[in-house]
Symmetry: none
Subunit: 409 residues, 2 copies
């Protein structure tokens, strides 16, 4: 069943907000077996909304609209839908009751503007909004469905999960979407594609292999529709893992820092970081995962060389002879931070993120990464690129994956 998502609101078109609703809805719907055909964002203008609905009904069976349903004058979705479906508004007591109960919970008086939310199109089925005042409206036309819902993320998500997705599953027969993902590192996208050319050719009909490059790693996703293909996808995933060899890091949809966290928790290990060029970003990535305090102790961000000497006790002579971006320096950083913070593992990085600071020998993008586990240190040099912000992210991901690989073995 094909779905088109239409997000409505001038704030999207002027770039004031990032449309995270569409991504969330796409992920949820895909996993339930629906196929997203297109996502369209348009402004709060009646003619544009009608045109977008016409286009969408031309390519999809289910139209999910978010936004433009607030109580103020600039919200026109409901009126536009009345026009589109040739229907009128009528007062709905159930909606008013729902609105009143919400205002009682918030302990604020109900105003006239909000009461207008209880007017709903005659030809729509009304679904109550548990967390807001705008009702969800469900229309049917030629066995196709259009649902209008609020743009407020948590109101939309609750309605989708509790009401809309169950109703859609009930109305439309959907085939199951099967997928197997994994994280791959240490290989460029094009080299990987070359390596997997034969594998792709032998894939059974209906199978798809997607390359999803991130900064510092590539996620591969093998997918097929239909639950009857479960044993086939399992077999292909095993084959893929074998071909990938040492480039394969981990299966699943999780982020590298989440996988690292799980691994550390399972093995009862702790970790610390000593960061120079990444300026705390590795530490941030690790600690954004809920429960990171179970295994993460802390970091010394030694942006200045003096801090490397004083707090991390990196030998001044080593810095002078080898340079601050060198194997010897990151190895001392990794070793000393683990000692000082009493951890089993550590990550240390030093590099040149740009735009300035590069030399002929060590251009912008040069990074040394050392990872320590069980008193063993692995240190490697990378060239991560040219753009400062991307370099920081890429370095952090590579560093986390380098430690993850050590823990695997």
């Amino acid at each position: 069943m094909k779905v088109e998502i239409i997000t409505i609101g001038d704030e999207i078109l002027i770039g004031q907000i990032v449309d995270t609703n569409a991504a969330w809805m796409s992920r949820e719907l895909t996993q339930c077996g629906f196929e997203i055909e297109a996502i369209t964002s348009i402004g709060d203008r009646s003619a544009d909304i009608i045109k977008a609905i016409d286009i969408a009904f031309g390519r999809a069976d289910i139209l999910l609209l978010t936004g433009g349903v607030g109580p103020t004058n600039d919200d026109i979705t409901k009126h536009t839908l009345c026009q589109y479906f040739h229907t009128a508004l009528e007062f709905n007591d159930e909606v008013l009751k729902n609105i009143e109960s919400i205002f009682i919970k918030r302990n604020i008086p109900l105003n006239q503007l909000t009461k207008k939310q209880a007017y709903v199109p005659v030809s729509s089925t009304v679904i109550q909004n548990k967390f807001g005042t705008a009702p969800i409206l469900w229309f049917e036309k030629d066995n196709k469905v259009l649902v209008s819902m609020p743009g407020v993320p948590f109101e939309m998500k609750a309605s989708m999960q509790d009401d809309i997705i169950p109703r859609l599953k009930n109305k439309f027969q959907v085939s199951e979407y099967l997928s197997r993902s994994c994280i791959v590192t240490g290989i460029s996208e094009s080299a990987l594609a070359t390596q997997l050319a034969e594998f792709e050719l032998q894939l059974p009909a209906g199978f798809n292999l997607a390359y999803l490059p991130s900064l510092g790693y590539i996620r591969l996703r093998l997918s097929v529709w239909g639950e009857e293909r479960l044993s086939e996808i399992k077999q292909q995933a095993r084959k893929l893992k074998k071909i990938l060899g040492i480039c394969f890091v981990s299966k699943g949809e999780k982020m590298p820092e989440e996988i690292l966290g799980e691994k550390l928790r399972k093995k009862h290990l702790t970790v610390s970081t000593a960061e120079s060029c990444t300026g705390g970003y590795i530490s941030h990535k690790i600690t954004v995962v809920p429960g990171a305090s179970d295994y993460y102790e802390g970091s010394i961000v030694s942006y200045d060389n003096l801090i490397k000497e004083e707090l991390l006790e990196v030998d001044k002579k080593t810095i002078e002879s080898q340079g601050v971006v060198s194997r010897e320096v990151v190895e001392q950083m990794a070793s000393n931070v683990a000692k000082k913070l009493h951890t089993d593992c550590s990550i240390a990085v030093s590099g040149i993120m740009g735009p300035d600071g590069g030399t002929k020998d060590k251009p912008v993008g040069t990074v040394w990464i050392a990872t320590l586990y069980n008193s063993e240190i692995i240190s490697r040099e990378y060239n991560v690129g040219r753009s400062r912000r991307e370099n920081i992210t890429r370095t952090a991901n590579i560093a986390i994956l380098q430690l993850l690989k050590m823990l695997k073995n």
Copy 2:
């Protein structure tokens, strides 16, 4: 001039990535005087791309496409554009040279698959991609423009800023967009709207005041079209600043960490951070600004209490009596990190980011922030919210702004 943005990629439709490109492009283009008519996301299927282009040419003058331009088989935008514009591919030596220079910098061998990126449509104007292997393609048709560019955010952004926006401005006459922005803190959006109600009413015709809430602060943007209104907007901006009083932090479009960096550099001051709950994110924000090494020395991320005691010398008895999330603890952290890292200023934070760890007295979202400048310490308690990732960002922004306010005085 009306613009439609078309983002191409299955990864968008299955909800694997949030489309941040479209929001960035919309913001930049709006500020240059272009009007975004619609944003459409579609998958890597030729027929869908052609249909989306047809629809878009029906409602816009400029079509900006991102994505589907990688070297692998699932990237089909270039071939589809050949089909759409009835043209063929030809080998372009300049593009190959550009690709080769990128591979040389990265120090990896160039493979055949990547070389294929140097084939470009005959009828397109080629713009070199400074940071990637996929060239930017510019097509014209009936005085309308279609530009195909990579979906990799930093490649897209660089091309947009350096090449595409200047060329679009050159080709299409756009009326000048005048704007004055500022950062406001310490007030909720609704309280701010109430405070500014009268100001908004007296604004001359054509003026718009936008509220752009970020985590921890609100950006206000006053705008009007037409260069002849310059003196008017200057006058209104002065009036606005006066009304905002102590809530006004800084003018301009820059991020708080950029403004902090400029201020520190100008005053020849240095800064360090001692982070607990933000886990290195403040340090990351400060160091993502190019040239941060001029004023930033480093951070001690003391996620574990023992690290607070050992590395930051926070008194164990203070932690026991006041709790780790307390005025006394963050003041010791701010004071000791400045001493240890020999800096003029410092930022220290301790709080509960959730989802766990909250108590009745100190619920999730409780944060203490201390900032130090000129031996003076200001410390304040905040409640930043319920969601872990947002709490970290909000805390980091508030902390940076708290120090910025001290430096202003």
